[in-house]
Subunit: 399 residues, 2 copies
Amino acid sequence: MSEEGAKIAVIGLGNAGLPLAAVVADSGIMVMGVDINEERCRLINRGGNPIPEEAGLEELIKRHGGKRLVATPHFEDARGCSTYIVIVPVFVDGGNNPDFSILEKALYSLGKILKKGDLVVLETTFPPGTTEGMVQSRLCESSGLRESDFFLAYSPERIMTGYSLSRLREFPKVIGGRDEESGIVAYQVYKKFISNLHLVSSAKVAEMIKVMEGCYRDVNIALANELFKICQDMGIDFFEAREKANHQFCHIHLPSTGVGGHCIPVYPWFLIKEMEKREHFSNRRLLRTSRDVNDEMIRYWAERILLECMKINKPLSSIKICIKGITFRAGVKEFYHSRNLALARLLMEKGLDAYVYDPLLSELDVQKKGLRYIEPDKADLLFDPFELKFQISKNKRTT
Amino acid sequence: MSEEGAKIAVIGLGNAGLPLAAVVADSGIMVMGVDINEERCRLINRGGNPIPEEAGLEELIKRHGGKRLVATPHFEDARGCSTYIVIVPVFVDGGNNPDFSILEKALYSLGKILKKGDLVVLETTFPPGTTEGMVQSRLCESSGLRESDFFLAYSPERIMTGYSLSRLREFPKVIGGRDEESGIVAYQVYKKFISNLHLVSSAKVAEMIKVMEGCYRDVNIALANELFKICQDMGIDFFEAREKANHQFCHIHLPSTGVGGHCIPVYPWFLIKEMEKREHFSNRRLLRTSRDVNDEMIRYWAERILLECMKINKPLSSIKICIKGITFRAGVKEFYHSRNLALARLLMEKGLDAYVYDPLLSELDVQKKGLRYIEPDKADLLFDPFELKFQISKNKRTT
């Protein structure tokens, strides 16, 4: 690929990076996608789509894969680009601190090919201050460039698996620079492929925007879970009350088994840990409580399952309990921080005869997770964690 | 007034009851309004409006006061009615438990005139279960009737001082019966003057709907306050971030000095105390934390005021600090649980030279509250609790 052809490199072709790379390519810009997964790169270059649940992506990759969108496992191949978009995951570790290891590796490799005048835009969600802090330091260290030698900005991805293309095309997207010039340069580049684009005053503000959204979701799901438990306790139909309580000024969310996935249960920790590091504990009380309320929902559901078991005419230990779905979200084969998986494990730890069934998983898939597979009709009690519904199999009920 | 003339009695002509009574009268129904405040009754009967800040109310009372809407301090005068709407306040006491004393007094008096076949509808916001529990018991005790002798329902007021008429006319209003027949009878009566009316399955659900709305507001204001403190701590403009974070799925509220008034800071306690009574402490963690976060905001603002004082070229104790507004909400002359009033008192307790100014209050009004009045231009430092803005008077700044 010639230097003037490939203009934009997308570092990370995961669930967030690949839809973005496809949208950039579809806008007419040559894209070099970099991902350590060689098999994924080969598939993309053949026009194949590794994320089938992403609406519209298949068509874009078929059209551009190996042509306007070239995937490679080698950073070296992206040397000719002038814009580098970094969109690799940042998780939290066992202590809920951000784990930058994947990002730091990517920044080190990027630094090796970074030139004076290039633009680097981060899309990964991480704690506010990371772009102007850690990211800039690593890039300078690895490239030997000074801060002022390259433009640096931040624009948070707002994808949601299944809806990522429409989000990129319609949803407002914000971008903010490490400094004013970086912001303007990044805005001009992004404007070529993002129509609903908004320049904000700094990278830090753009980082906070994304984290705040996650916090809003987490706290409001915790509120829904708490109100659901209270309604249950008081003999009130939560769903009926919620439907009528909600209006243009009231947005009570849905209850659940907790919050899983890479986003909502992770982002609040970015702020919680920052406040704890500063010993400003009173500044993170609500966020921390919400995390706890959501994570502890699996204990609530385990108790509810036990109460259902009491209705079945068998000793507790021999009631076959089936958790019908262990992905973190219905219809998406992902398990990161899945509370449904955690619920199945909790039941097993308590010595119950617990099994799982998931329409997205084979018996072998289930066994690989250390769980036991069952066909739903063989279980005495089914619990659907997405519908929050119990089902006792026929002729098993005591009364 | 003849018996067939007065059909509906509204018990309580306060900020919630009077707009309702006026709307009922305006729909063509004869209304007998009962309120212990004799002066207020006389004013209404002369066609005068005691709530000037309520848009459109003046016109309605001018038209119907003393004619289709007759106010009286005597329950006896409402004896001829067949529907009784009770809309008197329930507050919380010093221990945050509901204080039913005003309501119980009203129910006792109502029982004395209640007849077989009458309908009683409660509009007061109180803990779910109160209608079918305490309210029914008191009415039976006082009237000597059996439960099945009268219809009983609940329909929460959704007023907001200043917008109450438009809320009654446009906003969805729910109603639920103690039993199915009560619900249907009450729905038919209310339908005559409320167009956007929805029947729900029980009085308890209707009670919970109102309380849930308040909890949603309180938790989301606590979230806004917490995110505001975090942004301040991290050097990020909260308002810029909020504006861009909010979209159709994200509704981050505005920060404040806390939450005052009769509604939002009160309703969460109805659920918190009920869960504490049942010793289900884990079911009220988020609601409780939110209450604390909001109530403690005055400490945060006191600290911010001190930091502003450090910029002024005077000893701390001689800096004249003015809190510009002590009502609980801008433009409404009410003080119930006002955090701005509490902030002014906190500063005085700390021995600071604190004063207040409020465009709605005279010097004497201020002094009656045990506070000291100042003209804003005489103060060294102004804090506007509604705008959350500081202003240091000219020539007082150190640097």
